[in-house]
Amino acid sequence: MSHRVITANRLEDGAVVWFAGAAAWRASLDDAVASDDDDTVAGWLAAAKQLEAAGALISVYEVEVEPASAPGARRLTPVRLRERIRADGPTVAVG
């Protein structure tokens, strides 16, 4: 099964965050925890959905990632371009 991480947008500013384990959410995908175990991911997602219901997060969902295949490569790379752009910001200069 593919590796997945949990993502969301932060309520107050809409910024992208990634689940980093132990109830922590981080702005960098590099800090995210990933798993290829369905039960583990389902557990994370359920906990994140509870946070969403409590109001701290919006738009919670899981994202498929590829773990680094070579030393020095990025630890986790989203499979879809959309998620790579969410992780890294716009591919164009801003402002």
Partner: protein
């Protein structure tokens, strides 16, 4: 310009206080996102990929210098120092914090702006010709009519929850610069048999996944009946339009399903009932609104401006700009000036806070303190004395707002695309930037003439790709960006939906593909022949052959027929 009255101010003040409380309750957890989402959308606040986006309405694209300064303040204090002008003549801020929005709305209200009805299934910003009131080919200034429609449609209780969003465009000129045939309702002013101005009413146009050109529902509508007729159309749509399928909910689907004749019968039946109701406009009301758009206090100037002509001869760069970015003004000695928000390699429609402030000063100094936003994502100073054009050009050039490319190949329309937008399937802006770099060079060598290239990052078509002479639609295929190209679209008098040229192109291929299309046009055009005329004359085959080779062109043709 329209000036707010006491009711407008009271309404907006109350609305902002309501939203302030709603934001507070959302942040404290009293409101869920499910409860809050429709409330924020009703105030123009979207959640995009990286942040909230606030879309601010610019009624029919008309801005005062004071309003532009307020937009600059918002950009600087609440965003990342810039704003993005859209194809709907509005402005968007891409990096907004939720807790800042009530204060932003307060600042906007102080200059008579808001974000109401910039989202949701309601009647959106009324759009019009950017040269309204100054174009020589105009029957009448359409802005009073856009304003009358704005007042009628704002908070209209019956039309606040339509099957889908609803867009109205109005033009008062012989030449359509408002893209009326790709709007839910298009209004084109014309003269009746006795010479009295009225409207041709078109209905059922639109882009998106099912692009259609609007059809004429009424060849001539007296001006006084405008609101009752619009009300009749909206009422039929509100009752009969589909609500079971998001993709089939626009009025174009209803008109197409019923046929224009049956749809007309329904509308005309309804109209008979309400034609002489309170919606009938009396002369006093029409004159009251017209007075808000009275001509500027123009000076009497000679049509020939020697200083302007001399500079044109002396300065080739100025001459290039003057040839591309000026539009004739109906008053002798004046010109309408387009400020290009399309620097070569830049982001279409973006403007920094510093540029906004400087342009606000230029509007005060040169053009009666007013500006317009165009649906091609540029700005216009509509009333500049020709004798002062050289000074203005120098000021604009220093601000990087004098690219001489209006309606030319590098004046590319692009939506925000996958770099920002939650709905996008592919990036638009980087493609626009790379194309701009490539085509600037080609245009410099060969003078490509007028050429509209429009790019959308998804099928919703915010980048108007269906009506670009060359249209580019970004899709996601098997996880990668794929760009589908259409040729022959137009939103002008020869309005047409472009035809798919063949299989799509990867992000690495797309710039070369467009280059190939443009070079094919260059090779085959007759002197002075615009792109779509060449295309009509020689057909798609030469373009397909150049893109895919002869054998593959045939397969591309099969593909197109399947998609059709």
């Amino acid at each position: 310009m329209y000036a707010y009255d006491r009711f407008d101010r009271t309404f907006l003040d109350e609305r902002i206080e309501q939203f302030r409380d709603q934001v507070r309750r959302r942040l404290s957890g009293e409101l869920s996102e499910e409860e809050f989402r429709p409330l924020r959308l009703r105030n123009g606040l979207y959640l995009q990929l990286h942040a909230y986006m606030l879309r601010v309405a610019i009624p029919y694209g008309l801005l005062s210098s004071r309003q532009l300064r307020a937009l600059a303040r918002v950009a600087r204090d609440y965003d990342r120092g810039y704003g993005h002008f859209t194809t709907r003549q509005n402005v968007q801020f891409n990096w907004i914090r939720l807790d800042g929005v009530p204060d932003i709305l307060e600042q906007l209200a102080a200059v008579e702006m808001h974000a109401v009805q910039t989202s949701g299934n309601c009647i959106r910003n009324i759009t019009t010709d950017q040269y309204s009131g100054v174009a020589a080919d105009e029957i009448e200034d359409p802005r009073p009519w856009a304003e009358i429609i704005r007042q009628w449609s704002t908070l209209h209780p019956e039309f606040s929850f339509l099957p889908r969003k609803f867009k109205v465009a109005v033009t008062g000129a012989a030449s359509d610069r408002a893209a009326v045939r790709v709007h839910d309702i298009g209004l084109r002013m014309l003269r009746g048999a006795d010479g009295t101005p009225g409207f041709e009413v078109l209905v059922g146009g639109g882009m998106g996944r099912t692009p259609m050109l609007a059809e004429t529902i009424r060849g001539y509508l007296p001006q006084r009946d405008l609101l009752s007729y619009l009300e009749a159309i909206l009422r039929v749509y509100n009752v009969e339009g589909r609500r079971d399928n998001l993709y089939k909910a626009r009025i174009k689907i209803l008109v197409s399903a019923l046929g224009i004749e049956r749809f007309r019968e329904l509308v005309e039946d309804e109209w008979k009932r309400i034609r002489d109701s309170a919606l009938r406009l009396d002369d006093a009301e029409i004159e009251r609104v017209r007075a808000l758009f009275a001509p500027q206090p123009y000076r009497t100037l000679p049509a020939y401006a020697p200083a302007f002509e001399a500079r044109r001869v002396e300065d080739a760069a100025f001459a290039r700009w003057a040839a591309a970015n000026l539009f004739p003004h109906k008053v002798p000695g004046y010109a309408a000036v387009t400020l290009s928000l399309k620097p070569v390699g830049g982001i279409p429609g973006d403007m920094t806070a510093a540029q906004m402030e400087a342009v606000a000063d230029l509007a005060d100094a040169y053009s009666f303190g007013e500006l317009r936003v165009t649906h091609r994502q540029n700005l216009v100073l509509a009333d500049v004395p020709r004798e002062r054009l050289y000074d203005l050009w120098r000021a604009l050039d220093a601000l990087e707002l004098a690219t001489p490319n209006v309606a030319r190949a590098t004046d590319i329309i692009a939506c925000p695309g996958l770099d920002f937008c939650n709905l996008a399937t592919a990036r638009s802006i980087p493609v626009a930037q790379r194309l701009s770099d490539r085509l600037a060079e080609l245009d410099g060598r060969h003078d490509l003439g007028p050429l509209n290239i429009n790019i959308s990052g998804c099928i919703n078509s915010c980048g108007h790709h269906h009506v670009g002479h060359i249209g580019i639609l970004g899709l996601e295929k098997a996880g990668v960006e794929s760009y589908q190209v259409t040729l022959g679209g137009s939103s002008a008098d020869d309005a047409a939906i472009g035809t798919i040229v063949g299989r799509g192109f990867t992000t690495d291929e797309i710039v070369d593909a467009i280059d190939t299309i443009v070079v094919t046009y260059l090779e085959r055009r007759e002197t002075g022949e615009p792109f779509n005329d060449t295309l009509r004359r020689i057909g798609m085959v030469p373009f397909r052959a150049a893109l895919y080779g002869d054998g593959r062109a045939a397969r591309a043709d099969d593909g197109r027929r399947k998609q059709a």
